[in-house]
Point group: C2
Chain length 360, copies 2
């Protein structure tokens, strides 16, 4: 009765396409064993590589598996081994975050997880921290990866309480006991300052994320800013910082204020990737050529996007791929669980949007 329609599946060749094909009920490990003339445990071990199987039997078993198109039942495996081979990925819902980067990280996590023979379950903040409790508590997932970690993230307490394997993409205030990976935003800020200083700029502006980002999760935004400002001080650069919301008008306002307050500004460092396009457009229409009149350096965009704009952007990209892969490695890899903080070094890609300052 699992497939009610099978009852009147009389294979009437006239009727329209009948979606209810009698689903070839899955073959089981026991059937494979019989087919290969071995015991169930042997088949199991062939599949999981748990013990030395003589080449001849291994071959017979493998043949049977292929022939019958056998696929082990995930639920049964999870029950018997108490391992679901699923890692939960907690994604944010925030509107003020750069979505393409999130997606890239999610995809990187998924492909990396597959390499470790795991699948990825999506959980959203919609469920709140309880979502984590649920997937871990039911044994649905045996590892959790947190994206977009805030400085004081309420999900972290749940992770600690449950003692579930986990890794964080982002750096919380207290990473104690939890492996983390993030771009070293402080170093990125410093690197940006260095690049501009090297080119001879003396007065620069940092156009940051929206104010809400600073209020809530001062993490990466704050680190970038201070890394940048510290290095500016060391190199004798005059720097100002302006938060920038993700709207065209917001960007326009910020840009106007920057050149009003500091007319001598010759370079912009932009962290709000969503606003890079608008800013370039605004600069152009206000008669400032990039990079002849003003240099632009982006922090955090995905690299393909940076290379698609015009002029091609000098930028410190967000290593979405690495972030995802490392997060998986941290939670499923060799020394999984080793609490440690991995700060990925920023890489500066110099293209066309930065140059010496005018008259520099």
């Amino acid at each position: 009765m699992q497939h009610p329609a099978a009852e009147h599946d009389l294979r009437d060749p006239h009727g329209p396409y009948d979606p209810y094909q009698p689903p070839p009920k899955a073959t089981t490990l026991a059937e494979v064993a019989r087919h290969a003339g071995v015991s169930p445990s042997t088949v199991s071990c062939v599949i999981n590589g748990k013990r030395n199987i003589s080449p001849p039997t291994r071959l017979r078993v493998q043949a049977a598996i292929d022939e019958l198109g056998y696929l082990p039942h995930a639920g049964a495996r999870a029950l018997a081994s108490s391992k679901s081979r699923i890692v939960a990925l907690a994604v944010p819902l925030r509107a003020d975050l750069y979505v393409p980067a999130m997606m890239q990280i999610a995809i990187a996590v998924t492909t990396a997880a597959r390499r470790h023979d795991h699948d990825v379950l999506l959980i959203t903040n919609h469920e709140g921290p309880e979502g984590i409790r649920r997937v871990a508590g039911t044994g649905l997932a045996d590892a959790v990866i947190l994206m977009d970690v805030e400085l004081h993230d309420e999900r972290i307490a749940v992770l600690r309480e449950l003692g579930v394997a986990a890794s964080l993409i982002g750096l919380p205030a207290d990473p104690e006991g939890l492996p983390c990976v993030d771009l070293d935003f402080a170093a990125a800020g410093a690197l940006a300052a260095d690049h501009l200083a090297d080119l001879g700029h003396r007065q620069v502006a940092f156009i940051g994320m929206g104010e809400g980002v600073y209020r809530r999760r001062t993490g990466f935004a704050e680190r970038t800013r201070s890394g940048f400002e510290d290095r500016c001080r060391e190199r004798g650069l005059r720097a100002i910082h302006r938060p920038c919301d993700s709207t065209y008008d917001g960007a326009a306002g910020v840009l106007a204020r920057v050149f009003e307050d500091r007319p001598g500004t010759t370079a912009l460092v932009v962290q709000n990737e969503a606003m890079i396009g608008p800013l370039l457009g605004l600069l152009r229409s206000s008669g400032r050529e990039v990079p002849q009149d003003v240099s632009v350096l982006a922090i955090g965009p995905d690299e393909p996007a940076a290379r698609q704009s015009s002029p091609r952007l000098t930028s410190i990209g967000l290593p979405a791929h690495d972030l995802g892969h490392r997060a998986v490695e941290l939670v499923l890899g060799e020394n999984a669980g080793e609490p440690g903080v991995i700060m990925l070094p920023p890489r500066l890609a110099v293209w066309e949007s930065t140059a010496e300052p005018p008259g520099g």
Copy 2:
């Protein structure tokens, strides 16, 4: 031995934070039953609402569940019920697709699935169609949702072969037997033509997706185009169509060619959402005001983005939320599996980027 570290978990108060808390081994249904003084089957039925339970016992059981913090083991459930309560979401990897929309749909699918007490498993095209075979064959997922469906999508054959519950976001050439949901792009094209005709435009240009999109998956792009062109003909509009790759320089080239070939063009319909920003910038810097000199109508952006640009865009948004929810409904809802094609009606949001043609 499941948690080797427990051996040397001597609760040394000196040592640093020890991540290996003896994980409170999950309580089982049997324990709940004992705690409540009922049989396991009763507990099971309370949880699944499978039979009439007297209010008093239901309460006792519920109390026991809460008290023990019981969470049913997902694997055991899946094994016993042969239902995983997981729906697999097959996401594309393509670079030429609008990522924010994909992410929005994925999130909509996830929240909708939760409403039906299901979780969402991510599978990428990285695995190819075999990924679907795997998750369905192992019983990991008992339903599959395909995103970014191509006209002749190889994944569809797998779905039919397996007879797995499925729904498609997008419209393939032959949807026979598979429930689909998509924006009615033909109607969207027609609606765009109507709006411009109503405003008095006589010569318009359709700036489409990259050529690769047309070659591969002529689906939505082709439907939009023909819906637009047909209606233009009916309304006496002169229309041209130009594909447009997702690069700034590509957009610049296309725009230049359009006004070269048809200097009298007074309106642009843009389907490549990623290029809307650049196009607006290009128009501005080429001295054309929007909408005074040229109207711009976007097809397919997410609505928040359309309202953030400047001028705010008149647009026919992609109903990401609806698409995701409907797809879930189609595969998990009341009359799940009913093969049917749902074409969501386009909604035109009129803002600031369209107006009467100059001198119109």
